[in-house]
């Protein structure tokens, strides 16, 4: 309980800081040009804050749910190919099919994420060991990456690569409040569907068969989690690009707050994911490169060492 209050506080602080920084641009306007001040706050910083919040919560929650479902802490949308699938879906929809409209991109990305997750289930199996899981994820990520590059190379627009580059690494900049609300309207119901399965995901710790014996419809649970995760990830990726490693790290930290109950960790994972992405987004504003750093770069720089530590820890544990 105290941990949750702390997380709420962290969310609130990260939100306020995200709105306020960089302060040197914003604060002088408060007294001098209140209308411009309000515009910057509402049309630039609020959408950015909301998108980081929604995307972070989606990555944390779906990461926690997929890890619980596959009984594997290495499962997360960034590594298992779901984000890559979503990116491919959006690129194919936008460039190959020529449907640049926001809704079409979102639907394309959701379809891509869903395909990647179904492929993962087929390749790795229902309760995969870490090796099969990582191999399947590597294969799916490689295929979606190559296919995305191919789709861009074949795109009629000569600027396709350039356009997509910024988006692919993830960014919350230059999005409207409408886009942020759309992302929220699509992801929140999906996250709610997953949240309702928290108890079933805890029971799944005992195995599929025991969860079934307790009265949970495990095949239906699996379908629900995969479809809802694809919807949440697809919607976020279509707007903000593929941001890595939050879906891996946030659930891991969340489970340490719930005595390793993977289902109970869903909500804390969402909160931690949101705080992480909001903080990463704040960091991007202070990169000394004269322009905004893609947020995916920040999360990868923090996430990759963590991922290696997790993999190495499992290896040493098994004495390999």
């Amino acid at each position: 309980m105290r941990a949750r209050l702390f997380l709420l506080l962290a969310l609130a602080i990260a939100g306020l800081v995200s709105l306020a920084l960089p302060a040197s641009i914003l604060w002088p306007l408060w007294a001098e040009r209140p209308a411009l001040f309000a515009t910057i706050l509402l049309e630039l910083r609020l959408p950015r804050l909301l998108l980081a919040l929604i995307f972070g919560a989606s990555l944390g929650l779906t990461g926690a749910a997929i890890q619980a479902l596959f009984a594997n802490p290495l499962a997360s949308p960034d590594i298992n190919g779901a984000s890559g699938g979503a990116a491919l879906g959006a690129v194919v929809t936008g460039y190959s099919l020529g449907l640049g409209d926001g809704y079409a991109l979102t639907i394309g990305a959701i379809a891509g994420a869903l395909l990647a997750l179904v492929a993962l289930l087929l390749l790795a199996g229902k309760r995969a060991d870490s090796i099969s899981f990582l191999l399947a994820g590597v294969a799916i990520t490689a295929v979606t990456g190559a296919a995305t590059t191919l789709a861009l190379a074949l795109a009629p627009s000569p600027f396709a690569f350039y356009d997509v580059y910024d988006w692919m690494m993830g960014s919350f900049v230059d999005h409207s409040l409408g886009q942020a609300l759309l992302a929220g309207a699509i992801t929140l119901p999906a996250l709610f569907v997953i949240m309702r399965e928290a108890n079933a995901l805890d029971h799944l710790v005992l195995g599929d068969v025991v969860a079934q014996s307790m009265g949970h419809d495990v095949p239906r649970l699996r379908r629900r989690i995969i479809i809802a995760s694809a919807v949440a990830i697809g919607a976020c990726v279509s707007i903000c690009g593929a941001v890595g490693f939050v879906g891996l790290v946030a659930p891991f930290l969340a489970r340490s707050l719930t005595r390793q109950h993977p289902g109970r960790a869903l909500l804390p994972a969402a909160m931690i994911g949101a705080v992480m992405l909001m903080c990463a987004d704040i960091v991007t504003r202070f990169a000394p490169i004269g322009r905004n750093l893609p947020v995916g770069v920040v999360t990868a720089l923090i996430g990759v060492p963590f991922f290696l530590w997790l993999v190495a820890g499992r290896r040493w544990q098994k004495g390999l």
């Binding site: 009984a71 710790v205 005992l206 068969v209 025991v210 009265g215 390793q260 993977p262």
Partner: protein, 241 residues
């Protein structure tokens, strides 16, 4: 409520169809060689996979109860002792507690299995035998009417095998129906309750051990025969042929 009644229970391609009646307050053993369908029988009983037929506990249809209700009626312990997450053993037992039941049932069942101290440790740091006791505790904690255990005695030392059997008898005395699979034919032969003999995905028979476990079925199905000293291979020349 008279007992557990299975009618035309079938797990597509794996087991059945079978009709079985198990009376309240009884402990029954399932025996059969490797791959005979013992686990498939359990899967059919809990509705895992493509299951058809009916499964009634008295008048209650067990097929479509919500988890909160079902957990008070039936529990299942699988043969696998693996738990993916490093949870505390007591939390693993608590997962089996049906909503609305008092948490002191967890302490009670841990005490009965002499596992109070194990409860504080991460489940993956326990030995296989200790983990087995924790998983048995998980299956018993909600005091369900039907207790299904797949190989609960595997990995246990001799004293714990006897203690667990005594515990299961206690469960039967409070009115539960206990069904467990065992590989130990000598143990099954001395059982005072029913034995269910399973082979090639079929229920061959149900009844008292001396009726079900005659020389002919044992040598045909298991390739062994029981002797005064224990057991020997049926095709060995022990001087009996």
């Amino acid at each position: 409520m008279t007992g557990l009644h299975l009618r035309a229970l079938q797990l597509a391609g794996r087991f059945g169809p079978a009709d079985v009646d198990l009376a309240l307050g009884t402990v029954s053993f399932v025996i059969g060689p490797n791959g005979a369908g013992k686990t498939s029988l359990f899967h059919a009983l809990i509705g895992h996979g493509e299951v058809s037929g009916t499964l009634k506990l008295g008048e209650i249809d067990l097929a479509d109860l919500p988890p909160a209700v079902r957990m008070r009626h039936i529990s299942f312990m699988p043969a696998s002792r693996d738990i993916a997450w490093p949870m505390r053993a007591r939390d693993v037992v608590a997962l089996g507690l049906a909503p609305g039941l008092a948490p002191n049932l967890i302490d009670q069942v841990l005490t009965r299995l002499d596992a109070v101290e194990l409860g504080a440790r991460p489940i993956n740091s326990l030995s296989t035998g200790e983990r087995t006791r924790i998983l048995i505790a998980r299956a018993l904690v909600s005091q369900p009417d039907v207790i299904l255990l797949d190989e609960p005695l595997a990995n246990l030392d001799p004293a714990w095998r006897l203690r667990v059997l005594a515990l299961l008898e206690e469960e039967a005395q409070r009115g539960a129906i206990v069904l467990l699979s065992v590989h130990d034919l000598i143990l099954a032969h001395h059982h005072h309750g029913d034995v269910l003999l399973v082979d090639q995905g079929k229920l061959i028979g149900q009844g008292r051990p001396d009726v079900i476990m005659g020389d002919a079925p044992l040598s045909a199905i298991f390739g062994v025969r029981l002797t005064d000293r224990g057991m020997e291979l049926a095709d060995s020349n022990g001087g009996a042929a």
